[in-house]
Symmetry: C2
Subunit: 349 residues, 2 copies
Amino acid sequence: MKNFDINEDPHRRFNPLINEWVLVSPHRSKRPWQGQKESISGAQLPEYDPECYLCPGNVRANGEVNPAYDSCYVFENDFAALKQEPIAFEENNTPTFFKAKPERGISRVVCFSPRHDLTLPQMEVENIENIVATWQKEYTTLGAIDYINHVQIFENKGSVMGCSNPHPHGQIWAQSSLPTQVEKTHNSLKQYYEQQGRTLLQDYVEAELKAQERIVIENEHFVALVPFWAIWPYETMIVSKRNVSKITDFSAAEVTAFAIILKQLTTKYDNLFETSFPYSSGIHQAPTDGDEHPEWHFHMHFYPPLLRSASVKKFMVGYEMMGESQRDITPEKSAEVLRGLSVVHYKNK
Amino acid sequence: MKNFDINEDPHRRFNPLINEWVLVSPHRSKRPWQGQKESISGAQLPEYDPECYLCPGNVRANGEVNPAYDSCYVFENDFAALKQEPIAFEENNTPTFFKAKPERGISRVVCFSPRHDLTLPQMEVENIENIVATWQKEYTTLGAIDYINHVQIFENKGSVMGCSNPHPHGQIWAQSSLPTQVEKTHNSLKQYYEQQGRTLLQDYVEAELKAQERIVIENEHFVALVPFWAIWPYETMIVSKRNVSKITDFSAAEVTAFAIILKQLTTKYDNLFETSFPYSSGIHQAPTDGDEHPEWHFHMHFYPPLLRSASVKKFMVGYEMMGESQRDITPEKSAEVLRGLSVVHYKNK
Ligand SMILES: O=P(O)(O)O[C@H]1O[C@H](CO)[C@@H](O)[C@H](O)[C@H]1O
Ligand SMILES: O=P(O)(O)O[C@H]1O[C@H](CO)[C@@H](O)[C@H](O)[C@H]1O
């Protein structure tokens, strides 16, 4: 009988952060593609777009005018998924199959730059440090609100990721409950910490640095790697080397190191298919429920959909929705490809 | 303080099948959309396409020739994600963070009809009965293989769902393990059955028939409804009224009733935006591990991405990936819309 070769044979891998498996089919990456292609927008954007509702000085849908901001600018989402208003609710009225609870929260938009045409890889490190400082401030002020127990910072980049405006921006949804995916991670981190007295990601990063197979970038304070259990073709995770539970624990040196690794990782992404690389990214960090969270370890996920070119993405559909996430190219191969790419943006060459 | 109104206030709902929550933002459905639009293919397809690798008599990528089939036709996927070959593997070699196991399985393609231009809603009930009979046969023969413990029957329809060929077809991935989503459902069904002595879905369907708020179609043997915890805008589930754990337990009358409800539901879907409605669908039923599974209750999920028109879909991106699934329109509203649509296809009017 043939011996198991992880680089060739179909297998499942376990994700200890959310306690779920993923199906890996290394042999399948040569599949031809005749299906839907994403449209590529190669258009050079203007520095300022009079039609953009995020550009400085422009009017938004609700009639408000953006200030003439010159670094980051944060405002409440005009079509927020959450509302701040308190709602009266009787917990014990909940019937078995119809369990519902009101959810209170705040949704904000974070413009990364006044420049309409810049994305993270094209910004200066100081500009990215400003974004990190803005995230720190928002995490602190939103987290300080008594009913806010979780602050989700994220970015949808590119139209294929549901982003309707190329002006560089992210979002923050802060709410009362731990969202489903965060709660899963929370439970795993907690259990590991209770058993081992160390954070799961501290031990994981150590093991990855030893293996050197899935590392994409390493600097003094952070590592960017393709997780062993990644589901998206070029999924990565930035993890702090030090066991910090939240972004507000960063030292000044860590803020800079984080800004640098963000710039380098997103530059490699753009260089991969010589396109403005779409992804959803998001920070997972300690809840803001007022407790200490030594089990939490700061990390940022990048979920990019592209598979083979700027126009061919991976579809997470039938089997993935009914069964489990499935990938073709191995995480080791993806890491190798990303590692080999320049940290100089292809447009600046 | 305002009292909780489930039709207006942001809230979370609980999905007892997989033990996860979903965020519902009813007030947000009026959000304007300036983002990516899906291309709509209104082209009338030919009955036979000489370029299609699924049409009768044509040659596939691997050189094999399809027979001149006249109802359903099943073949092994030429680019299977799973392989049948047994792989030698030492379980106890698994390190903590690098848990991987070989997975054995079989992937098949099921052509629903020799006609290139027909989808489920446009087929005769007898043709759909043939598809159901094919699914029964595949579930039986694949399930009988000693190392196959789960048979996932599914369909990706439409290019937006990663389907690369409009010829009507579905797939079957049969494998050793219970995939992640199935295992979650399995655990919930088992726990409920052990506690209540009835299946979870038996009691749920009863409660839904009493409430009459989320029912889309009901016939003697099946119900199509929008689950209370649906995540996709027009997500539905077909559930058997009788407590059958698998498709091979259907009586002849149930096969017909299932074919009819499949035709009616997919017709309503096409009528919604007067387009060939994209979705991924899949059947969840008892594992084929040789055990009795009285806790299992046959159901079929439909996950359609469209939100507001034939070209505007719901994006499950940043918040949804990092936090939890989020929807705007309520399941009650979606059910009302679907209920109001004709079961006569718009092209036949
Ligand atoms: O097998 P197909 O139709 O080529 O591929 C499609 O369905 C598969 C199963 O859901 C997915 O893994 C692929 O990403 C998708 O493109
Ligand atoms: O808030 P936006 O950018 O309008 O909307 C985008 O991001 C949200 C949060 O991930 C999603 O719920 C929407 O489906 C998506 O289109």
